[in-house]
Amino acid sequence: MRLRIVLIIPLVLVLLSTGFSLMFYFVTNGQAANIIRNQDLLKVKLDITRLQNILYSLLTEDATDLETARLNLSVTAMDNNIKKLLVTAENDVVLIANRYNWENLSANSISGYKNIEAKKIKLSNHQELIFADEEETLLIGYYPVVIKLENVEGFPIKQRGVLYIEYSMENKLLKAKRVALNQSATIGMVLFGVSFVIGLMLHMLVSRRLSKLTLVAKEISKGNLELKSNLRGNDELGALSSAFDEMIDRRKIAEKELRHVNENLEEIVEQRSDELEEKKQELLETQAHAHHASKMSALGEMAGGMAHEINSPLQAITLLTYKLKKANLSTSAEQRSEIANRIDETVYRISNIIESLRKMSRGSSSDPFEVAALKDIVDNVIGITKERYFIKGIILKIIYHDNSETVEAECQQTLIGQIIINLLNNAYDAVKELEEKWIKLEIFSDDEKVDFVVTDSGKGISEELREKIFDPMFTTKSIDEGTGLGLSLSLEIARKHNGSLTVDASSINTRFILSIPRFNKGT
């Protein structure tokens, strides 16, 4: 149960007004009663004293005129509040009364009259004995009178009598009570009304607006910024409301900015993605260039060997033709035929070299995957490179294991050849200055895959370099010798074949293993 300030305040006001009304009633009523009592006492005293005097003149001085006395008593008793007005003789017998049926009765039989009190006033010199009864609604008065009455002998004698009055203040008190009640009720009603109005105002000004603010606050906490409190007025709640609404507005702006930033962020991300895409394209182009450059570099490296390779047999031919030209009679037909055959062989060798070169230079990553004999791949490679090794005194051994001479593999033949050339070139560079120079190309195969293993007399690759050698642009060669693209591109080609290119870390000598599956459509 929630405590409501707007209910507590009117409730307190109602309680206060009720209390105030009651207090007002009691005070007013009490005061009115006092005033009535004092007034009535005076009035009664005045009236009765006057009557006492009249009675004195009527009953004592002149002949007893009971009738006139009765008339005067009746006149006095016309006041409705006088309930009982009697004159009793010395023997307490009612002489005259405001009611005729009381006359000649013993006064004691009339309620209220007490002969003890009558006796007191008869025996004393007091002019009056007047008091209120216990409930203070009645005024009871005993006044002494002297009555000249005939005794039994018919002789008039004076005797002491009593004028008894019973005056009721009840009507007046009731009236005063009613008035007080009315007044306090009116005041209570007014105060209640005021409380109601205050409560209503509190409800209108505070409660309703507070609940609106509460609602708005709840909506805000839910994330709804569309609702506003919009409370009018220059009061504190109005200020709170406008502060609230301002907060909502600011938050709206902030959210808008945030959304804007978000959208911008998306844009930025999109832009960055585009840039990345561009970079990627550039990289791909660079890679393509690099691939080309690497191929050209491999070709360039071979070109030297090639020149030698072709120039040497050409030179041999010129020397042989010179011999034929200079041949004289001492030269036999057999000798001449032999020279001619050697020229033919040499020409054939040159054409083989050119064919290998043509095949090697043609390869590209878009080549189809075709079934190729391992021996063809190796022969093409060796045809180009053999001369170089010979020149440098490098022993090149080609060893087929597992009957690999007869095995075929589905691959991009030229690219695989280029990888092998690359490995052989690296081996060449590694061993050319060594004391012990040899390079071994071994071919292994099983049902699923083919391994080309190039081992050279170099002392292996350090663990730290082993991770780097496949990075593009990494090279240990001088700038004239290598571009650093060879191994990374070789690895790329191997991966496109679902194969691998690794360094055999367990080997004492430098040992590269190119492994490709025998059946392949590439990736």
């Binding site: 360039g300 490296e301 030297g304 060997g305 020149a307 030698h308 120039n311 040497s312 047999p313 050409l314 030179q315 041999a316 031919i317 010129t318 020397l319 042989l320 010179y322 011999k323 200079k326 040499t346 170089r388 010979f390 020149i391 440098k392 005194g393 490098i394 001088s478 004239d480 010798e481």
Partner: protein, 129 residues
Amino acid sequence: MSKKSKRILIVDDVREILTGISSILEMEGYEAITAENGIQALEVIDNNIDLVVSDILMPEMDGIELCQIIRDKFPDIKMILISGGGRQSNLKSNYDYLETAKKLTGVDTLLKKPFNPEELVSQINSKLK
């Protein structure tokens, strides 16, 4: 008969060239001695050699180094260099390469393979006149 006394050392790592050159020089009446590389050449060379024909690109010791040694040790021996147009990656062009070889060795005659054997013979003849 004076030709007979002329001894020529031929240095080339390609055997068919070595034998080819030596056989035509013998046909021309010279005495031909062969070596497959610079080291072998230095083993056989002495003051009885009149001329050296050396390839540049060879394993073990190349023609340039060989010619430099011969020039220092046997200043009287004439020299002809022959070039196979081999590996030359640290020089811009073949021309630079040949000029560099000439400068390094002081040899003025440099024949590019494939050369005309008659050119070789006439160069030798003129040097050994």
